[in-house]
């Protein structure tokens, strides 16, 4: 099964197929579907066709024009996927853009992540910035806000959104903004979870079992079944206990 290795270090073009390693350190183009053990892009790589690999590392600029399937995808440079991505483990400290939807088990964002449609994973942790055009669904959503993030919907078991430093030092959010401490925000249409803890989040609707609305939040309506706590520095429109 194991194919040959290819390495493009100047400028080159290869056709798709089955490979062991694919390394692009110059500028390379791969035409057609590719299956590989490992793909490393440290220069600029363009893949025109579906890509299946155990491990993909992009530290330069990677562009995938169709669907990508991988066990691990690590982006520290810039990586664009035009199609859907099915990646068990995604770690992005660079800029990761997905034009379709994402399915996986573990996502860690410390850079920037854009997903045009839904993002489904078991665990989602972020200390970066993200924009999800559809539903962000995970058992565990753990976010430390840096910059402004958005999602159309968030749903899962535990949803934990924390504002980054500043708060713990006794600053109010409003002052934080004024002094430009880099406190991030999150804007979401709808949040649903069993345990929901929010800070610096703007949402139309929040539904949950136990809900904590922390400082800097603006929520149109909260529907809860067990408990609701609202911080004095939060605005909540309606509160409905079911």
């Amino acid at each position: 099964m194991e194919g040959q290795n290819i390495s493009i270090s100047g400028s080159g073009r290869v056709s798709g197929g089955e490979y062991g390693q694919v390394r692009i350190s110059g500028s390379g183009k791969v035409d057609g579907d590719v299956t590989a053990q490992e793909i490393r892009v440290s220069g600029s790589g363009r893949f025109q066709g579906e890509v299946k690999a155990k491990e993909i590392t992009v530290s330069g600029a990677g562009k995938f024009t169709a669907r990508v399937e991988a066990d691990v995808l690590v982006t520290s440079g810039s990586c664009g996927i035009d199609g859907d991505a099915e990646v068990k483990e995604l770690r992005s400290s660079g800029a990761q853009r997905i034009g379709g939807s994402f399915r996986g088990h573990y996502v860690r964002v410390s850079g920037v992540l854009h997903v045009a449609r839904d993002l489904e994973t078991d665990v989602f942790t972020s200390s970066g910035r993200f924009e999800i055009g559809g539903l962000l669904s995970a058992d565990r959503v753990e976010v430390k806000l840096v910059g402004d993030s958005r999602a159309r919907e968030i749903g899962g078991e535990n949803i934990d959104i924390r504002a980054s430093s500043g708060l713990s030092f006794g600053f109010s959010l409003a002052r934080g903004f004024r002094f430009g401490l880099g406190i991030g925000t999150l804007t979401v249409g709808e949040i649903e979870g069993d345990r929901v803890h929010l800070e610096a989040t703007t949402a139309d609707v929040v539904r949950g079992k136990t809900v904590h609305i922390g400082p800097g939040c603006r929520v149109g309506r909260v529907e809860y079944t067990e408990s609701l706590e609202v911080h004095p520095e939060a605005e909540v429109g309606e509160r409905i206990k079911r």
Binding site: G155, E157, G193, R207, K209, R242
Partner: protein, 212 residues
Amino acid sequence: MDEDLIAKKDVLEQTGISYGQLYRWKRKGLIPEAWFIRKATVTGQETFFPREKILTRIEQIRSLKEEQSLDELVPILAPESAPETVKCDDPTLLAPVGAEGRKLMWKDRGYTFGELVALACGAHALRAGTRPAEAKLLVDLVRAAEEVVRAPTGITALLGEKSIDQEGVSVRLTVGVLGHEPVKLDRESRVKHRVDMEKIVEQVKLALRGVA
């Protein structure tokens, strides 16, 4: 499409499942995307489900997950992942097909999943009193539509009947139709038999599980 709908929060309240479970089951594909129906209400956007389908599915997941992991449930319940590898030598053992269903397409052995679903559609019609020749129409129709077996949500197979009287000659035609709901026939035709593909696929899967 006047299906009886139930709001998401009522599903949670009635069944006692959590948001975590609901989203997890959706991620696993145990609850099809197509069942999540977004509607505008006085309080904004809300999600609804087809009542009977969602309540039945949650019941199934709960009773089966005692013995099997969620991942094992996917091929059993999730209609969009049809078991490609199924080869069944004796379809009469499957309740949805039975002895009468088998007669609609005779093979020595090795019925594929798609063929079993097709036979189940035929048997469904036979049991409702349709003539074998007409039930066979359904079998052939469904057998030729592999994609429907893989993604049966919202798809109906039906037998329509139309009479044409002209110059003293009267002809009665029966046609098989396969399509997304709402499936419409012209006004002079009537629906003789209707099969909800999603239900049939699920019945065959559950029956296969009993045999295996």
